[in-house]
Structure formats: structure tokens, C-alpha cells
């Protein structure tokens, strides 16, 4: 049996929940066919989360990509198909590989497994990030260094905690519906251990009576708790939170069945901690930095 999962036309972090709701109804060992034929757009989160979803399945899922040539071409330039062919069985129209060459793609989808991958990501993005953050987002040049640090720390979450590889992508786009402004979005997704299991793996850790994905996220993101016991651990995410706060952005981290969101200014989170979401292994991080506008 193959279960067909419909990918919505517009795939962002919120709409991806519709994909996960469908997957939740399918037994873990049943094969999936992700049908993205009608997809018109995806955020970096949507594309990297699709790859992580494939990674989470026991049997390699099938995937049918967008029929719209522009959409397929864009996904190809974002390097989606390059990685999708490893984790999906591809059906339907598969565009020929294309180089990024797109000024809005700061970092095409890039696998992250080891420390060296994080170095490569940071080295590659620095110049372009500086240009986009200062000219398109009108941020102070000081924001550039913090942006690269934020990207580094988000990627390290995979290296240090996931127990397997994941993907990162960075893109600028106009967030028309929510803000009417340009944003730069970092998406880092994996289907590894996730926060709860990572913290549980800490030796001698006492598990609280009320212990679930939401509590684990709160512990890690708000309190800076890490599975590593050395003093000084857990500061990376704290640093990311500070950066997001400083530049009026939004950080959301989904793990297991929960999502924690910190939003500033116009991006304030309506529900800072969501529970009982459809299960999705690993951790999925999205960081949004908006264009600066004079008030």
C-alpha cells in the first residue's frame, strides 16, 4: 500500500503541518507518495522539511514534483532535486539541474552532518549575507556577523544533537501576506533525535514528572539546558534568541509534537508554545529576520 500525501500549493512552516497531519494517519512502515504536482511556492523551511520527512521514513517515499515549470525550476535552483533524488524515488517532471545563480537564494539547500559542513556554510554565505542584509533588509552592517553566528549555531544543533545529517537553506523573499516586507529566512531541518530524546540521553538526567516534547523544548530553548553537562553548553540557542530579539525577528523550533516560537515586533508569536502537533522526528528550526523600516 502507498499512502498519497498532498503537498499544499504554498508550502511554508504553517502549511507543512497539513502534510504532517496526513502523514500522522499513515502507519510508520507504509510507503508514502508525496504529491507536490500542484505546488506553486515553497519557503526554505518547506523544502528542507520535505527532505527531512523523507529521511524519517523506513521506506524511501515516492515524490512527484511541481508541474509548474517555473516552480520546478526554482526548486531546482534551490538544489532541492539534487538532494531529493537521494531520499525520494522521483516521479513525474524532474527539471535538469541548474546552478543557483539567483540573488534571492543566499544558500541553496546544503547538507549538514559534520563540523566541516558548518565551516563551509559560513564561509560561503558571508559576503552575500552582508550584501542582502544591508541593501535589501536595510540592517546595520553589524547585523551581518551576528547573522553568520546565528546560522552557525543553528547548523551546529544538527552536528551536536541530531545523531544524523540534516539540511540548511537560506533565502530572501517578500513576506507579502504576513508583513509586506522583505525577510531573510534560515531553515535548518533534520529528522534525528530531536530535543526530548537528546536531553534524555544525558547520563544521570532526572526526567521531570511532566516530561514531553514541549517541556524539552522549553528546557533547551528557554533555560539553555543541554545534554552535555559541561558548564557553558546550551549557549548557542541563547545567542540565537538574542540575535532574533535584537533585529526584531522570529525564531521557531519544532521538535516531536511541539513548537516553540519567539517573535518580536510585528512577528510576535500568537502561540509561543504549541503542543500536541502531529509527530515529526528531529528538529526543524526557522529563523526570520525582517527588513528594517523606520517607524
Amino acid at each position: 500500500m502507498t499512502a498519497i500525501i498532498n503537498v499544499p500549493p504554498s508550502l511554508d512552516d504553517e502549511k507543512f503541518e497539513l502534510v504532517l497531519d496526513q502523514v500522522a494517519r499513515v502507519p510508520a512502515d507504509e510507503r508514502l507518495l508525496l504529491d507536490a504536482r500542484h505546488a506553486k511556492w515553497s519557503s526554505p523551511y518547506g523544502l528542507t522539511a520535505l527532505l527531512a520527512l523523507a529521511q524519517s521514513r523506513a521506506e524511501k517515499p515516492a515524490f512527484t514534483g511541481p508541474e509548474d515549470e517555473n516552480t520546478a525550476s526554482y526548486w531546482s535552483r534551490a538544489a532541492f532535486y539534487r538532494h531529493a533524488e537521494e531520499v525520494f524515488e522521483l516521479h513525474g517532471f524532474v527539471p535538469r539541474p541548474k546552478p543557483a545563480g539567483d540573488s534571492d537564494v543566499l544558500l541553496e539547500i546544503t547538507p549538514v552532518t559534520r563540523s566541516d559542513d558548518v565551516h563551509a556554510v559560513v564561509e560561503r554565505i558571508q559576503d552575500k549575507a552582508k550584501q542582502i542584509l544591508t541593501t535589501s533588509l536595510h540592517l546595520d552592517p553589524k547585523a551581518t556577523m551576528g547573522f553568520a553566528m546565528t546560522l552557525s549555531e543553528a547548523c551546529q544543533n544538527i552536528v551536536e544533537h541530531a545523531g544524523q545529517g540534516g539540511w540548511v537553506a537560506v533565502q530572501k523573499y517578500l513576506w507579502r501576506k504576513r508583513l509586506g516586507r522583505n525577510v531573510v529566512v534560515i531553515a535548518v531541518c533534520d529528522a534525528g533525535l530531536g530535543f526530548r530524546r537528546s536531553l534524555e540521553s544525558s547520563q544521570g538526567r532526572r526526567i521531570a514528572e511532566r516530561w514531553d516534547d514541549a517541556t524539552a523544548l522549553q528546557e533547551a530553548v528557554v533555560n539553555g539546558t543541554s545534554r552535555f553537562r559541561e558548564a557553558g553548553r546550551g549557549q548557542g540557542l541563547k545567542g540565537v534568541r538574542r540575535y532574533v530579539q535584537r533585529w526584531g525577528g522570529r525564531l521557531s523550533i519544532r521538535s516531536g509534537t511541539a513548537r516553540i516560537t519567539q517573535g518580536e515586533g510585528d512577528l510576535v508569536a500568537e502561540v509561543p508554545l504549541e503542543k500536541h502537533l502531529a509527530p515529526f522526528p528531529g528538529a526543524q528550526v526557522q529563523i526570520v529576520i525582517p527588513e528594517h523600516v523606520e517607524k
Partner: protein, 189 residues
């Protein structure tokens, strides 16, 4: 001449000659190991300049692994060293102007402080210090060497408070002590 450790060179020598950025804990640990190897070849009591001028980016993880863990291992906390070190080791950090955000973050986290040198050569104290410590440090920075009484008189602190603050600054390796006198680290560098 004050010994200098070029962190950029340590990065290229101990991790990869392709890298200019200090990112990831793995890299931070390797660089700190490299710095410690260089320190091991120096004398028993020394001031060493740790130079970040040739480093592109320093992330929180590396700031913790390189700066905070180095300070803790060499006893620059009020509680003494994490690892047993016979030597009195003092650090001046150079070229950290662009990296102060992650550095302050990790120093605050561990309750540590450092002396850093600005581009024009003037030294500054950054991190977790009490008001009395800062006042005593600012005073000692302006004089080549001074007794507790002299510092107390200039700083306007009661002698006992000043002595406590100077002793703590010395324990934290933020000032030097020579007999009954205290000296700013920068004066020696």
C-alpha cells in the same frame, strides 16, 4: 617582548588552512588545544597576548571553548583553576573588537572577565566584575604600580574593600601582583 599567540594561525595550523572563521565547538576545542600547546612552551609566570586580529567570525560555541574554557583552565576565576596549573598565566586579548558580543555573552555566563586591548593600545576590562573591582582596576590601569593604600586613596575606596577587590582581581588574573604592589597587565605587555 610579550609572547603573542596568533589565533588565526593556530586555526589554520590545527584545523584547516582553508578556514578563517572560528565556528563550531569541535574547532574551538582544537584551537584551544593549540593555544595550550603554545602556552606550555612559555615561562612560569607570563603575560601572553591572544590575538584574534586574523579571525573572521567567532561564534558563541567557539567563544566558550576558546576564551571561557581557557580562562577557567588557567585559573582566571575567583575559585581557582579547573585544571591544575602551576604557572601564573595572564592574558591580554587583542583584535576582539568585532567579537565582543559573543565574548561578553560567555563571560557573563561563567562569571568571568578579561582584559582586552583596543586598536590604539589602551586596555579595557569586560565581563562580570563588581563595582569595586572595576574602580580598583580603572585606578591601577592609570599608574605603573601601586600599593593597596595608594589605589584606595585614588579610587576613594576604604582600604579593606580595595584590598579585597585587588586580591580578587589578581586571583582572576586581571592585575599582576609583585610583593605588596599591584600592576596593570597592560603595563607589562
Amino acid at each position: 617582548m610579550t609572547p603573542l599567540i596568533d589565533v588565526g594561525a593556530v586555526l589554520r595550523g590545527s584545523v584547516s588552512d582553508q578556514y578563517t572563521n572560528l565556528v563550531t565547538r569541535h574547532t574551538g576545542r582544537a584551537v584551544r588545544d593549540g593555544i595550550e600547546r603554545e602556552l606550555a612552551g612559555l615561562g612560569a609566570r607570563r603575560v601572553t597576548i591572544i590575538d584574534f586580529s586574523h579571525v573572521g567570525l567567532l561564534d558563541y560555541s567557539c567563544a566558550d571553548e576558546i576564551i571561557a574554557q581557557l580562562l577557567l583552565r588557567y585559573g582566571a576565576s575567583a575559585h581557582g583553576p579547573v585544571a591544575a596549573t602551576a604557572a601564573e598565566v595572564y592574558f591580554i586579548f587583542r583584535g576582539v573588537g568585532d567579537h565582543l558580543d559573543p565574548i561578553k555573552h560567555v563571560l557573563e555566563h561563567h562569571g568571568l572577565a578579561i582584559v582586552y586591548e583596543a586598536p590604539l593600545g589602551d586596555t579595557h576590562l569586560v565581563g562580570e566584575v563588581s563595582e569595586e573591582e572595576r574602580l580598583a582596576w580603572d585606578t591601577i590601569r592609570r599608574v605603573p604600580r601601586a600599593t593597596v593604600e595608594a589605589v584606595a586613596a585614588v579610587a576613594g575606596l576604604p582600604p579593606e574593600t580595595c584590598e579585597r577587590a585587588l586580591h580578587l582581581l589578581w586571583r582572576r588574573r586581571l592585575v599582576l601582583r609583585d610583593g605588596g604592589d599591584f600592576l596593570p597587565i597592560g603595563a607589562v605587555a
